[in-house]
């Protein structure tokens, strides 16, 4: 029993990672990872939304009229996203400003619809909830790795605190401005995929 849940939770972290294996949710992964803090908040928001939308849809899956199921799924996702957005605006205003439109765009994040259609419509609520949380963490993990390297190399800070010592700058080191821009984020995602595949050989296509 427990191992089944563990499998649901850990599969999206590696073998079925939404970003590096399924290549979903790339847009927001590139946009919000300039700094670590928004990346973490985005990761948490998406995890909450995937978990609870999976839970809600799985609980009502037998009552949803098949012809409007996509609409019902979207309504559930949109409601949760708006709630997250409103809470962020009220209690984490500075972060909410940095995430700006991307919280709203969680609605169109392919990971959500994908999990609802592929998993929550056919599985029990609790399994679906775990699956949603797992996928949220799988997505968030990549976001945090990206945010870490982009902020460190692009701005020389972590969580806004300077970590690269002044003496290094005095010796001629400069921040890599390219890291701040989205193209470098895409290249970093590529590097992560490369590293993951060189470790996890079964992901390599024949």
């Amino acid at each position: 029993m427990a191992s089944r849940y563990l499998k649901l939770l850990t599969k999206p972290l590696n073998d079925e990672n939404p970003i590096t294996v399924q290549v979903l949710g790339i847009c927001s992964a590139l946009a919000v990872t300039v700094q670590l803090k928004p990346a973490i908040v985005m990761a948490l928001s998406v995890t909450i939304v995937t978990g609870f939308s999976n839970l809600i849809i799985a609980s009502i899956r037998n009552t949803i009229p098949p012809r409007i199921r996509i609409i019902v799924q979207l309504v559930v996702i949109a409601t949760l996203v708006i709630l997250v957005d409103q809470v962020l605006k009220a209690y984490m205003y500075d972060v909410s400003k940095k995430l700006s439109v991307f919280v709203g765009l969680i609605i169109t994040n392919c990971i959500l619809m994908g999990r609802l259609e592929a998993f929550a419509m056919a599985n029990k609520p609790w399994d679906s909830f775990i699956d949603g949380i797992g996928n949220g963490i799988g997505y968030g993990m990549i976001l945090i790795i990206l945010g870490f390297f982009r902020e460190l190399l692009g701005s020389g800070t972590l969580f806004g605190y300077r970590v690269i010592p002044e003496s290094l700058y005095a010796a001629g080191y400069i921040n890599n401005g390219l890291m701040i821009l989205p193209p470098m984020a895409l290249i970093t995602v590529g590097v992560i995929i490369w590293i993951q595949r060189s470790i996890n050989r079964k992901l390599i296509e024949k």
């Binding site: 009552t63 949803i64 009229p65 409007i68 019902v72 309504v75 409601t79 709630l83 205003y93």
Partner: protein, 241 residues
């Protein structure tokens, strides 16, 4: 129950919509005061920042009431307009009015022995709105034909979505700092605004600051914003206090 039936689909969607609408309304109404407070505190922090007073969201209210001594609204002729609150004035809507009908907000501040005024700015960047606050040091030693408010003490700018690394740099200290000490009137007392140009001005040109390479449209927008928002204050600045 037959989930394929049309009537079921209609009833189902109606119920879902009602539940969702109720939920969202409750959330929006209950969180609104906290959200409005955040916007207000941010504005106060910006006004304080233009006076070089660092603040955090926690102490902004207290510092604001300590340093800002009053607010007022004037018209283009420099006369006081009553019945309009400077703090809640909607600049975006107000900028659409003809010059002589505009409401001009002024924040008066005192820091040590010096008196200042802060003026709000609002304009267009490349991708969306840009805004800011600019403060002027009051100089009472000038001659009668010269305006008392001429020298910029500090400026802060912000933007909704300018290009990161280029136009978005307007909210960075390296861009804002050179505004300090600039003059918006020339020797003859004529309004010249502040120009944002490549390389900034020389010593003899105290109304020019350095623009952002690669952020030309944002720089130009900022210059236009300064011109539109400050030129209407000319009469107020020039009139004897």
């Amino acid at each position: 129950m037959d989930v394929q039936k049309n009537s079921y689909t209609f009833i189902y969607s109606t119920i879902i919509v009602v539940i969702v609408a109720t939920l969202l309304t409750i959330a929006a109404v209950s969180l609104q005061p906290a959200q409005e407070k955040n916007v207000e505190v941010e504005k106060k922090q910006n006004i304080l920042a233009s006076l070089h007073i660092p603040s955090t969201p926690k102490n902004a209210e207290e510092l604001y009431s300590r340093y800002i001594t009053g607010t007022k609204v004037v018209n283009e002729a420099g006369e006081i307009v009553s019945g309009v609150d400077a703090f809640t004035l909607n600049m975006r809507e107000d900028l659409k009015l003809p010059r002589n009908k505009r409401h001009l907000a002024i924040y008066e501040a005192r820091k040590g022995d010096s008196a200042f005024i802060v003026i709000p700015l609002y304009g267009k960047g490349l991708w969306g709105p840009i805004w800011g606050y600019i403060s002027f040091l009051r100089d009472t030693s000038v001659g009668n034909d010269q305006p008392e408010f001429n020298t910029v003490y500090g400026a802060v700018f912000d933007h909704k979505g300018e290009t990161p690394g280029l136009g978005a740099e307007i909210n960075q200290p390296w861009f804002q700092k050179p505004f300090m000490g600039k003059k918006i009137f020339n020797d003859k007392g004529q309004f010249v605004s502040i120009e944002v140009v490549k390389g900034g001005g020389t010593q003899n040109e105290p109304n020019k600051v350095d623009a952002i390479s690669g952020g030309t449209i944002t720089s130009k927008g900022l210059q236009a914003m300064l011109d539109t928002c400050l030129s209407v204050y000319q009469n107020y600045f020039k009139q004897p206090k």
